[in-house]
Structures are given as C-alpha cells and as structure tokens.
Amino acid sequence: MPIYMRGSYFFVRPGQKRFEISSNFTNYLEIGIQGVTEYYLEAKVENDEFKISGTLLNPSGQVLCNINQNFIETSLGCIKEMTPNGYRIKDNDKNQVFEIRVENNICHLKGAIYSESGEIVAREQEDSFLIFRGPAIIGKSNGSIGIKLD
C-alpha cells in the first residue's frame, strides 16, 4: 500500500526559504547523479538564495541546456525567459520546458525532467512537482539526508 507524505518539512522551518516538492517542503532536491545520469537537477537554498543547477534533456533524450546556479551555461536548443520572480526555459519552438517561480519564500518547480531514454523522471502535476523514480534526494543538511530514492 502506498504511503503519501504531505506537508512535511525537511531541514527547513515554516517561513524559511524552501522548495515545494511532492507537497512537502525541503531545502534541497537532487534528481539524478551528476556525471552518472545524463540528466541532473540540483535545487538548493544557499546563502539565503535559491540556486538551481543541472542538465535538462528533451523527450528524445538530447541535452537542451546546462544550468549553473540559475544561469544557462551552455544552451543546445533552448532560451531563458526572465519573469519578475523566476524564469522559464523554452525550447527553440518557444514551448515551455521548465519554470522556476518563487512565491512567499517558496520556490516552485514546473515542467518535466526526462531521462536519456525519454522516460519522465519527475514532473509537475496538479500544482505539485512529483518524482517518479530515483536516484533522488529530498532534503540535505550537514551530511544528513531527508529522503533518498535509489
């Protein structure tokens, strides 16, 4: 029987800057493993700032862009569009691939993370960002880990 966790806080307190992941709140999210999986996403709160880094793939498993602390480093077919409280990443056909949005100290992720085989690893669904498969880490602080998905 599946167990659903909602409204839990991993290494953050209410009011602090945090990410909303699968209806829970956390200071850290890692999807994939850098250098091991082709796709990778790291979202963390560092120095009171939301920092998102990673490699996004399109549904065909091709690299769209590399992001380093919210700034696109290499783009192989996407553009970044700034909004007053975040940004959107769009492919060359102007279709939205990913969005980062901050509201009331909560950072929301919107879009889909694809694996190299085109499988959906994580995706926003009904206003929540859901993780469908590991490897992933939700919450991290001083070497301690909140939830680890293998």
Partner: protein, 242 residues
C-alpha cells in the same frame, strides 16, 4: 579624505543620457580604456508581456556628458546574458579615453561604519554632486528585478536621489569604488506610496507641492550593489589596476 582624491574621482564620473528612452543617470570609468560602469536600469526599458515574461530593451542612443563634452557609448555586455539584468549593472564602452578612472577596492576588506561618498548627477544637476556617509550595513537582499536572486549590497546614509543611479560609491580612505548606487531603501518608497495616494485627493497648488516633494525625496538609506557581481561577469575587462 584629501580633496585631491575626490577631485580625481569626480573626473571619472559622467552623466548618462539615453536619448531614445528619455532617461538619464550616472556612471564612471573603471579603467583607462574607456570602460564605463552604470546601472542596467539606467540604459534599459523594462516591460512585462501578457504572459508575464520580462522584455528588456537596451538603449541604442546613449551618450555620456562630462561638463561640456559628450561622448557616444555602446553597450558591451552580452545582451543574451541575464546576469547584468538580475544584478542591475551594465558595462559601456565610450569612444574616448578617460582622463581618470576609479579603481576597484578589495571588496573583502570593507567594513561596516567606514566612511564613503557617492558621486552622481541627481535630477536637475548638470554637474557632479558629491555626498558622504558611512556604510550602514552590508546586506544581502532580493534582487529588485528578479526575486529569485539575492544581491550583495552596501546600505549607506549618503544622500542620493533620482539621477544618482549608476554612480560610484567610493571608500573615502583610498578613493576606490566599492559599489554602484542603485536604489533607495523601501521606506522611501512607502512614503512615496502614501503621498501618491494623497495626490489623487488634492488639487493645485497642493498637488504640485506633493509632486515636488516626491521628486526630491531623499531621506533615508540608499543601496549600492556590490561590485562583486560585476567582477564575476566574463565581460568585465580583466587586468585592471585594482
């Protein structure tokens, strides 16, 4: 601080005019090759489209005045890079070599309470105006242009108002620049909001007086963005004589 140091700094500060946008501000030379630093909002026009995305237009007709001399300027940064937008800076290149420039201070050695001065061209002035104060605090605050990011800033009580944007905040001990004067503390905006609400309810000459006060309201603190953000930009001219 010796008057000679201030005098040298003043020569490096110019008034920026964007003819196509009808807006102006301040800026300063950071090397002897004509690289000129200012705020991004001085040389851009920002709008938000119907889908909520920010549209940024850079001025195509910029000139910089030093007294009676005026020089054309071009924008040096990568317009596809959002770093200058987020941290509100812009590097220009002038078609003239400056007689003086302001060196960048060692930003790790700046302390709260140090004396600083600001140079700029506040509204209505065609000559550089110098004001002084202290570093009231070093703060990280959300970027006023994109709240996802935070900016390193110096809060100062040096007087600055419209037109000062883009001017240097200079440490008084050695005359080196530490930040770019960027915006007032929120308290001034709150006062302005209240005045704005009253403005709708009154008729001349009261509303003219309120408009005058709003234009020259300069009480309170001012934020200067730390030059650290600019130094991290690949477009920043390297090999400067800090």
């Amino acid at each position: 601080m010796p008057a000679q140091l201030i005098n040298n700094c003043i020569k490096a500060v110019g008034k920026i005019v964007c003819r196509d946008f009808g807006q102006s501000g301040s800026g300063f030379f950071i090397d002897d090759e004509g690289h000129f630093l200012t705020n991004n909002h001085v040389v851009t026009k920002m709008g938000i489209d119907r889908l909520g995305a920010i549209r940024l237009d850079y001025s195509r007709d910029i000139y910089v005045k030093f007294g009676n001399n005026a020089y054309n300027a071009s924008i040096l940064i990568d317009e596809n890079s959002d770093r200058p937008f987020v941290f509100d800076y812009c590097i220009l290149k002038l078609n003239d070599s400056p007689s003086d420039h302001i060196c960048v201070a060692d930003l790790s050695q700046i302390n709260q309470g140090e004396r600083v001065f600001a140079i700029g061209y506040p509204s209505g002035f065609e000559m550089p105006i110098v004001t002084s104060g202290i570093i009231s605090a070093r703060l990280r605050m959300p970027s006023h242009r994109n709240s996802l990011h935070t900016m390193k800033t110096f809060l100062t009580d040096a007087v600055a108002t419209y037109g000062n944007s883009g001017g240097p905040l200079i440490r008084s001990t050695d005359g080196k620049v530490i930040g770019i004067v960027t915006m007032p503390h929120e308290i001034r905006n709150r006062i302005k909001d209240r005045l704005q609400r009253h403005l709708a309810k009154v008729t001349p000459p009261i509303n003219d007086i309120i408009k005058f006060i709003m234009r020259y309201l300069h009480e309170g603190f001012v934020y200067a963005i730390s030059l650290e953000h600019v130094l991290n930009d690949p477009a920043f001219p390297q090999g400067g004589d800090n």
